[in-house]
């Protein structure tokens, strides 16, 4: 097959990702613009919100899939640097602000504005956005983003006041986790991604991990990521 070896798969990937990200940008931007259009009916707004939330979900899955691919092929090393944690949480809130408003969900940030920590900003935000997107669909009306440090590192938590995680996710066995993950669809991919990225954060002999529980607000879901 002459010429075939010249086609660099990475180049194809990079340019396809670029195209797909453009399409996603347009879809999400259109959804945001229409969301501010008062002439739409209530049902139209509901359909639009659905479109919007699914668009965000698609974007999160896309980021995860791409990152997992790059990690698998040793093309991604974490870009660890010192970042302001409050600033990251605020950015996660802004990314979801239209949806939060439309679902009448109150999002609160509990974090020291001066708190700084070492982590990969883009990947950690990818995790937080995925969990927020999930919480949007399951919460009653509150989502809280919390961050504080303890002796092992930083803990960033996303809490809601919904019905909490189902038992099959809470009781997941880490070894069987991936199999279970993919049976439970996107939530599974998101958790798998979160686990891998957390574990890539290494300091000395410590590494990060994630934790799920129903210790959220009024026994709602609580997701925590611990980074050393």
């Amino acid at each position: 097959m002459p010429g075939k070896e010249n086609i660099n798969f990475n180049t194809i990937m990079a340019s396809s990702v670029h195209d797909m990200k453009n399409s996603l940008s347009i879809i999400l931007d259109t959804a945001e613009t229409l969301a501010n259009d008062d002439s739409l009916s209530k049902t139209q707004h509901q359909s639009l919100d659905l479109l919007h939330i699914e668009g965000e979900r698609l974007n999160n899955s896309f980021i995860q899939l791409l990152a997992l691919y790059r990690i698998e092929n040793n093309q991604y090393s974490l870009n660890i640097d010192s970042h302001n944690v409050y600033d990251c949480l605020e950015e996660a809130m802004l990314e979801n602000e239209t949806l939060l408003a439309h679902h009448n969900i109150e999002l609160e940030i509990q974090c020291d504005q001066e708190l700084e920590w070492f982590f990969d900003r883009a990947m950690t935000l990818g995790i937080i956005n995925t969990i927020i997107n999930n919480a949007l669909r399951h919460t009653n009306n509150i989502i809280a983003l919390m961050a504080n440090t303890d002796e092992t590192g930083i803990v960033i938590s996303i809490l809601d006041n919904g019905t909490g995680y189902p038992d099959q996710i809470l009781n997941r066995d880490d070894d069987e986790q991936s199999e279970l993950s993919f049976n439970s669809g996107n939530t599974g991919l998101g958790l798998h991604f979160a686990k891998i990225v957390a574990e890539m954060h290494i300091k000395g002999d410590q590494c990060g991990h994630i934790e799920l529980s129903n210790d959220g607000i009024n026994c709602g879901g609580k997701f925590s990521i611990h980074l050393p």
Binding site: A14, H18, N22, L24, S25, I26, N59, S82, E97, A122
Partner: protein, 538 residues
């Protein structure tokens, strides 16, 4: 909504995708932006940037064929069209590119990953604008190349604002290294690493070993970094330099090639690959790299006739004389007014004819080179001068070679590396001549001029000293000692007669020529500080 306004700001949006351009425009309209220009590719962007100074530039990194966002940023900086006040935001599809680009010399103010909404864009713009106004003094010090002051300002900023200072710490470390304050730089790196094994601190430790000429240690550290962080481009760059110093040009070439894989559109890196491949006599790689450099620098300030003549030489070696002639023809057209480029092209052409056995034509062209050299109004650049000398010596034109070498040696009387090259050229030729007498007399002459000039300055005869240095510099424009003394003469003149734009400009030219000379660092610093004191006077 518009508590925050971007009224009267001139904005440029660069994206190859029409819908993205209008989406970005719509995101900005709530903030009263009215003056928005759009470009769909690198060439359009450069044209607009050359004609206007923008306040905000939103640039997509991946623009398909042609220039990418990083090249636009570099071009704009090199053309002086990106003042400190301009905000340049690079928009990318993948966050993985940060690591690759984060190591480059020219940096955007921030990166934004697609997709993002208006609120995030607003937040980032605000953050950059705040930072710019906070760090104005520091940026001025950097612009004036006043590194000691910049280091002090980094310290001041960090003490005023706890936290947020990773970036300043990194900048301070790099400045300390530039100032050869290695112990202080090392101390910072060690304390950063004690807390967290950050790549930039590790890289800087390797750089310190490099500058202390402990190349083996530097090599080991750099290889360790690359093993862990494959896509850290500047670690590859430093490793390549280290390998060259250690005398492993073949390994250096491999390293540069892997850096290019990460960041393919850098003209400088392609040139470095070509040069290294030329040392290794790997003309296939050199041909490819030169072609790449030519394509990437097309219509850019980085375009250089040297790429074409070097391409022609690679093509001769690869048995493609016809293509070599075509490359040379391109110099004739694209660099018409450039005397030196034309000389280099003619010299290359003579080599093509020689390679295909047309000796007579080849010799005629060498005669032509000799005539051109006599007529040229500017002193021949060092590398071309060496090449011409080599050719002349091989063709019994030792006399013609002599005047070129004299000028070359005077231009570099204190540059041992170049003087060694001159000796090599002579010893390789069959001319039977020895340049050492010439080198010695050129040295004496330059030293005599410098001594005379310094004495004139000490006696207060500033104008006479300026005349003396000017005359000498007309013949040997790059001579380091002459330039630093001449800069001193101009600054003394400004001190005695007051600020004057033309004197400032002359002082600046001399100073810039010596800015990277390690041996002249202390004098440069003193004179540079004095220069800016006068330049900034109302």
């Amino acid at each position: 909504m518009a508590l925050w306004s971007l009224k009267d700001k001139k904005v440029l949006i660069i994206d190859d995708f029409a819908e993205m351009r209008s989406s970005l425009r719509n995101m900005l309209t709530p903030f009263d932006v009215t003056d928005i220009s759009m470009a769909k590719n690198g060439d359009e962007a450069i044209e607009l940037i050359t004609q206007n100074i923008f306040d905000i530039i939103l640039c997509d990194y991946n623009l398909g064929e042609g220039k990418d966002g990083q090249q636009i940023l570099e071009e704009a900086k090199l053309r002086g069209q990106l003042p400190y006040s301009t905000v340049f935001l690079m928009v990318t599809a993948e966050s993985t590119v940060f690591m690759v680009m984060g190591a480059l010399e020219h940096q955007p103010d921030d990166y934004l990953t697609k997709p993002f909404n208006a609120s995030i864009l607003q937040k980032r713009l605000k953050k950059v604008l705040d930072k710019k106004s906070n760090l104005k003094e520091l940026s001025l010090a950097l612009q004036e190349d006043n590194k000691s002051l910049a280091i002090e300002l980094c310290d001041r900023e960090m003490s005023l604002k706890p936290g947020h200072h990773n970036e300043l710490l990194k900048l301070k470390t790099e400045l300390l290294i530039d100032e050869q304050r290695f112990d202080e730089a090392r101390e910072i790196c060690d304390s950063v690493i004690a807390e967290r094994n950050l790549p930039w601190a590790r890289l800087n430790i390797a750089k310190i070993y490099y500058f202390r000429e402990e190349y083996e240690t530097s090599k080991q550290l750099l290889e360790d970094i690359i093993k862990e962080i494959e896509n850290y481009v500047s670690a590859h760059d430093w490793l390549a330099q280290t390998l060259i110093k250690l005398g492993y040009p073949v390994k250096a070439q491999e390293t540069i090639e892997s850096a290019i894989e990460q960041s393919p559109k850098s003209v400088q890196r392609q040139r470095l690959l070509a040069e290294t491949a030329e040392t290794n006599e790997d003309f296939v790689t050199s041909e490819r790299a030169r072609r790449h450099a030519i394509r990437t620098s097309k219509n850019s300030v980085l375009s250089d006739a040297n790429d074409f003549t070097k391409l022609a030489q690679a093509q001769i070696n690869n048995g493609k004389p016809k293509e070599a002639l075509k490359s040379i023809e391109l110099v004739k057209h694209q660099f018409k007014g450039d005397e030196q480029a034309q000389i280099a092209a003619t010299l290359s052409k003579s080599k093509v004819y020689k390679a295909i056995g047309r000796e007579k034509q080849s010799l005629e062209l060498i005669d032509e080179v000799s005539d051109m050299v006599k007529k040229t109004s500017t002193p021949i650049k060092d590398n071309l001068a060496l090449e011409i000398t080599e050719t002349f010596l091989a063709h019994d034109k030792a006399d013609a070679a002599q005047s070129i070498v004299e000028q070359l040696v005077s231009n570099n009387h204190d540059n041992q590396e170049l003087l060694d090259k001159v000796s090599q050229v002579y010893s390789k030729s069959d001319s039977g001549q020895d340049p050492s007498a010439m080198v010695e007399s050129a040295r004496k002459e330059i030293r005599a001029i410098n001594n005379k000039g310094v004495k004139l300055l000490e006696a207060g005869n500033i104008d006479e000293a300026i005349d003396l240095f000017d005359q000498a510099l007309a013949k040997t424009p790059d001579n380091q000692a002459l330039n630093i003394n001449s800069a001193q003469a101009y600054i003394m003149k400004i001190k005695s007669t007051g600020k004057n734009e033309s004197l400032l400009k002359k002082a600046r030219t001399c100073l810039e020529k010596t800015a990277n000379n390690k041996d002249l660092l202390q004098r440069y610093k003193t004179l540079n500080a004095a220069y800016w004191k006068f330049a900034n006077k109302e």
